[in-house]
């Protein structure tokens, strides 16, 4: 079925089709609508979900943890300050290996206050043990959210699916909605590994561990993330087989004989696509690598892919404020360390707080990369 939906509407619609057991959520721009639309589904009896309108995001994630630990497929939605307020609880969901799934409409972090897109919120949570997926279009967001449920449960890892605030959350696009029953059949019921409410097997969830066991728990969690990528890929392949829409961990766009490529995540990939087309028309050997999966970091794939090019411009829609480079650059550079045929890496920070990023900006980056320009450690694109 072809539908016109904003990013938020599509995420809420995906949630309706997923029909989670429990949703506990709190409103925040630009993801508020996801929660609003979903509560309509609840109150109109279109889902079986128990919906809890909690009094904060901190409580939202705590309630999600309680629910997921009690054998329920559990979701919430948030952004920015909301994700930041959940920060403490994100690590607990990660450590308990609970497959909670959260669509976020990525937004900058205060201060100064700003409600527009960048990736500061999710990237600040990058070490919390959550899988993270970034999307270019509304339909990709919709598909990714449905896939994330299966991935999370398969890997026993929680997952964040990011659509860029306003740029996607409030932008209407055409999506081809999947058949609801088919989605529900594909997901099947949630089969938890353990359940707090199993009265015959009382368990203690979330013990205190000291120097003797904490590291072992963490090591096992780390292993969960380390072995997640093939499972993520399996789910993508299965999704493609069932629904006919295929996604990779990363997507190469016109990279075959490229000398310089741009690597980035999220909606700006659309601008970069146009810029690549434009430069290709003029004979420029450029391409784009769109990274869809940030956690687990596909470091081997990044290494294999990026060593084919002479120059890679890494675009960060966030900054680490570490007096050096952005978070994505850091991870790409680490993935390439020690590789033969290392490309030259250029660092760009762009679009903070929703700052306009156009195909022209993208083209300038590609031109610079082609010319091998490296006049600054980091280029802050479009800043006055």
């Amino acid at each position: 079925m072809i539908l016109a939906k904003t990013g938020n509407e599509a995420m809420a619609y995906a949630m309706k089709q997923i029909n989670p057991d429990v949703v506990a959520a709190y409103p925040i721009t630009p993801s508020t609508e996801i929660v609003q639309i979903f509560s309509n589904y609840v109150h109109d009896g279109l889902v079986d979900t128990e919906f809890v309108a909690v009094e904060s995001e901190h409580s939202a994630m705590a309630a999600c943890i309680g629910s997921a630990a009690s054998g329920c497929r559990t979701m919430t939605a948030t952004a920015s300050q909301g994700l930041a307020l959940m920060h403490e609880m994100l690590f607990i969901a990660g450590g308990l290996r609970l497959p909670i799934v959260v669509p976020i409409a990525s937004r900058s972090l205060s201060s100064p206050l700003n409600i527009h897109a960048d990736h500061s919120d999710s990237l600040a949570s990058r070490d919390s043990g959550w899988m993270q997926f970034f999307c270019e279009t509304v339909e990709e967001g919709y598909d990714s959210l449905i896939m994330a449920v299966k991935m999370a449960e398969k890997c026993s890892l929680p997952a964040i699916v990011s659509i860029d605030g306003f740029i996607l959350s409030h932008c209407m696009e055409r999506i081809e909605a999947l058949d609801e029953q088919k989605v529900r059949d594909w997901l099947g019921p949630y089969k938890p590994n353990w359940n707090l409410l199993d009265l015959d097997r009382p368990i203690l969830v979330g013990p205190a561990t000291l120097q003797d066991y904490y590291y072992e728990f963490k090591r096992s969690q780390i292993e969960g993330m380390r072995t997640a990528l093939p499972k993520v890929q399996e789910v993508m392949a299965d999704f493609e087989k069932t629904f006919g829409r295929g996604y990779g961990v990363l997507e190469e766009y016109r990279c075959e004989d490229a000398e310089a490529v741009a690597l980035l995540m999220g909606s700006a990939s659309g601008d970069m696509r146009q810029a690549v087309d434009r430069l290709r028309e003029q004979g420029g050997k450029v391409g784009m690598v769109k990274l869809r999966v940030f956690r687990p970091l596909p470091h081997e794939l990044l290494r294999k892919t990026l060593t084919r090019f002479k120059t890679v411009a890494v675009l960060d829609r966030a900054d680490s404020v570490n007096s050096f480079v952005g978070p994505l650059y850091n991870e790409v550079a680490a993935s390439l360390y020690g590789a033969e045929n290392q490309p030259e890496l250029l660092s760009y920070v762009f679009g903070l707080g929703g700052k306009e990023f156009s195909p022209d900006d993208a083209a300038r980056i590609l031109e610079g990369a082609l010319a091998g320009r490296k006049d600054e450690t980091v280029t802050y694109v479009g800043v006055r």
Binding site: A53, V54, S59, A63, S70, L204, V205, P207, A208, Y213
Partner: protein, 309 residues
């Protein structure tokens, strides 16, 4: 009303061998609360002494399901657990009737977890919240909380040469919780085991969220020998420093009327945390203010019991 005979026959759901200090009032309260429940129960606790002394991996004192997430999240986690239960029931995936008990220290209840508690109660999640109130953040080394009484020495309200302990009175959490229109709220202390057990049973039988505030003396934080916990607990009740009462469907009832209402000094004297009040130049005034506060609160409670009894 429970009889000791009956209670003795019940399986211990909070097993011995945990790591609480000798004389820990909190561990006694938890044990009594679990003994009181006749139905299957699922429990929640926050970070704090209780979590540390009952759950250090690979050991656990809990013979019932228990979840701990963070410090300020006992009520919010319980919201999720209770919601999951309602979902399973609705879908016919669970048959048993389960009761939920969330514990919290006074820090986790009056202070950092207060918003989560207020929210969970406003949403009418069906659970009993038990505050084990030892009047301070004991787990991190006896810091003041908003439950710490006036004059008490804690490590962040020390008995200094200038300022003699905590300057403010405690927060009246009972009235705050009652203002949430609870079907049942009760206040008691570990010495009165029968009152505690009865209150737990009433609370679990009531509809909607319920609240119990249990004074649990802490030998380490209050500075008295561990074998005097019950005595100190009883003195709290007998001085009316800790009124033992309930709010049951709109009715106030005082459950422990001291034969003779003792002067607060009787409660203060055995405890090192108030020792300075008997030597500091301002100590006399502080004790007088504590007494005035107790008397005023007690008179008000008696009025409430009279008018709304």
């Amino acid at each position: 009303m429970a009889s000791l005979k009956q209670l003795c026959k019940k399986p211990e759901l909070f097993s011995k061998g945990h790591r609480a200090c000798a004389g820990c009032g909190e561990s006694l309260a938890v044990r009594q609360v679990l003994l009181a429940a006749d139905q299957p129960i699922v429990t929640v606790m926050p970070t704090g002494c209780l979590e540390i002394f009952s759950s250090i991996y690979p050991h656990s004192a809990w013979q019932v399901p228990m979840i701990h997430t963070a410090f300020e999240t006992s009520a919010s986690t319980a919201s999720g657990v209770e919601t999951a239960y309602r979902f399973h029931k609705k879908m016919g995936r669970m048959k048993e009737d389960v009761k939920f008990i969330a514990f919290g220290g006074d820090g986790g209840t009056y202070d950092i977890g207060f918003q989560a508690l207020s929210g969970a109660v406003e949403r009418r999640h069906k659970f009993l919240y038990v505050c084990t109130d030892n009047e301070g953040y004991m787990n991190t080394g006896i810091q003041r909380s908003s439950a710490t009484p006036m004059g008490a020495h804690t490590t962040t309200s020390p008995a200094g040469t200038k300022i003699p302990g905590k300057k403010q009175h405690r927060k009246d959490i009972m009235e705050i919780m009652i203002a949430h229109d609870l079907a049942y709220a009760g206040q008691t202390t570990v010495a009165l085991w029968n009152d505690l057990v009865t209150k737990v049973q009433k609370a679990l039988a009531a509809d909607g969220p319920t609240f119990l505030n249990v004074l649990v003396p802490c030998p380490l934080g209050w500075q008295y020998p561990g074998d005097r916990t019950i005595e100190v607990s009883r003195l709290a009740a007998d001085t009316c420093f800790w009124p033992v009462y309930e709010f049951d469907n709109g009715r106030y009832k005082i459950n422990h009327l001291p034969k003779e209402k003792l002067a607060v000094e009787e409660f203060l004297k055995p405890q090192g945390r108030f020792r300075h009040l008997f030597t500091h130049p301002e100590g006399k005034d502080v004790i007088a203010e504590i007494q005035r506060h107790i008397d005023a609160k007690w008179a008000l409670l008696q009025k409430k019991a009279e008018v709304l009894g």
